[in-house]
């Protein structure tokens, strides 16, 4: 039987007095090739992903230094005919250049599809806001990549903007039991599908 979605508020709207909202992200995020995610074993309840595994490959660490890393990363609603959706934008700077960066990073970002996990400074009441995921539904693709040789922001490195368009959910978060367990899972994603003794 077909389900009818009725969009109704389910929670009071107010900030937390003892844990006020904090803007910004931490300096490290992780990029994953969309096609390497094992969607069959993905465990998601509502907007929380508790298990995210890879079929192959690994997650790649993205470290951006500075006070405001990943500036420009945001979620914005886009009006739809029957249902409104969200565009999620991830802004990354690559403070390096050269043939290796071009072939292994930039050319791939320009043409591939990705998922980006990042860490919010604001953990939320129950820590579930700590890790957020962009691109899990539609995948992130590059919308702009520039290498301004005289850029004062990137010092001649690369500025990359990835966007997930028309994602049904406004936010998807990664939380597995505890923050520590979630960090262990991210560490495992970063290690990738490596067998000891290979």
């Amino acid at each position: 039987m077909a389900e009818t979605c009725d969009f109704k508020l389910a929670k009071d709207i107010a900030g937390l007095c003892d844990k006020p909202q904090v803007s910004g992200l931490k300096n490290t995020g992780w990029l994953i090739n969309y096609d390497e995610i094992d969607f069959d074993s993905l465990t998601q309840t509502g907007n929380i992903v508790s298990q995210l595994a890879l079929r192959s490959g690994r997650a790649y660490r993205v470290h951006v230094p500075g006070k405001t890393p990943f500036t420009g990363t945001q979620t914005a609603m886009v009006a739809g005919t029957y249902r409104n959706k969200f565009n999620k934008t991830a802004s990354i700077v690559v403070l390096d250049s050269g043939p290796d960066v071009s072939s292994k990073v930039i050319d791939q970002l320009a043409n591939g599809r990705f998922v980006f996990i990042f860490e919010n400074k604001y953990k939320g009441a129950d820590d579930k806001n700590t890790f957020e995921i962009y691109g899990l539904e539609q995948g992130l693709t590059a919308s702009e990549i520039t290498n301004d040789k005289y850029s004062e922001d990137t010092d001649g490195g690369w500025a990359v903007t990835l966007i997930e368009e028309n994602a049904p959910k406004s936010g998807i978060f990664f939380f597995s039991e505890t923050v520590a367990a979630t960090r262990a899972a991210i560490q495992s994603l970063e290690t990738g599908s490596v067998q000891a003794g290979e």
Binding site: A59, S193, Q195, E198
Partner: protein, 248 residues
């Protein structure tokens, strides 16, 4: 993959470049070892001594264990973390021990999909674990390893028996030689003993001694006779000597 001795040798050779900085090939080697041995990736950002830290970690790990890590039976998919209830331990990738994996599978049989690799007989192992038995290796790799070990043990035992047999034969030969030498020595000793009983040299010597003794006695008797004769001659000598002296 290289063996333990080869890796340790390479790491020792790389030690000379520890302070000055590792080469590109050194770094690639460290990355590979770090990944294969410790299932970790070298962090290239946020630390100034990432490769030195990884080098030290690999070296101390190998030195501590003294051998290459055994290939794990169970490997989790990247991103899967097993957290046994009531513990503060997280298991991920290839660092999950058999007992933890099998206990987890006993509780969640469908979680086998979370494993990237597992033994072909995992169901039997899980069942054995449920019954509190230590599972025996039934898979091909396990059997091959067990066979190889048994074969090596057999070869070693065979070599030991051969060596002992050779040693025994050598000892027997030595014993025979010693026996022969002893018999020879005994024969010679007996021959020497029989010669010593009626020795003609000793007899001749004794006769000679007796002869000499007799000669000595005769000489002594002659000496006494001469002494007596000398005294008689002294007594019979003329008493004119004082007058002659005065005349001089």
């Amino acid at each position: 993959m290289q063996d333990y001795a080869e890796i340790m040798s390479n790491l020792k050779e790389m030690r000379s470049r520890f302070d000055s900085g590792f080469s590109t090939s050194d770094r690639a080697y460290i990355e590979r070892l770090y990944s294969n041995l410790l299932s970790k990736k070298v962090r290239r950002s946020g630390c100034s001594d990432c490769y030195r830290d990884a080098y030290l970690e690999i070296y101390s790990h190998l030195k501590k264990t003294g051998n290459m890590p055994k290939k794990p039976n169970y490997v989790l998919k990247a991103g899967i973390v097993i957290h046994p209830k009531g513990t503060n331990k997280f298991y991920a990738n290839a660092n999950i021990p058999d007992e933890v994996a099998e206990a987890h599978l006993a509780e969640f049989p469908k979680a086998i999909d979370d494993f990237l690799s597992y033994p072909a007989d995992y169901a039997l192992r899980v069942e054995a674990r449920k019954n509190g038995e230590a599972p025996t290796p039934q898979d091909i790799e396990g059997l091959a390893a067990a066979y190889q070990k048994a074969d090596e043990d057999r070869k070693q035992a065979f070599e030991s028996v051969n060596k002992l047999t050779e040693e025994l034969n050598a000892t027997k030969a030595e014993l025979e030689e010693t026996k022969a030498a002893l018999a020879d020595a005994q024969t010679k000793l007996e021959a020497a003993g029989s010669e010593g009983d009626g020795g003609s040299d000793d007899g001749a010597l004794a006769i000679e001694i007796e002869t000499l003794k007799a000669d000595l006695e005769t000489a002594n008797a002659e000496k006494e006779a001469l002494k007596k004769e000398l005294e008689e001659l002294k007594a019979a000598a003329p008493k004119k000597k004082p007058a002659a002296k005065a005349a001089e």
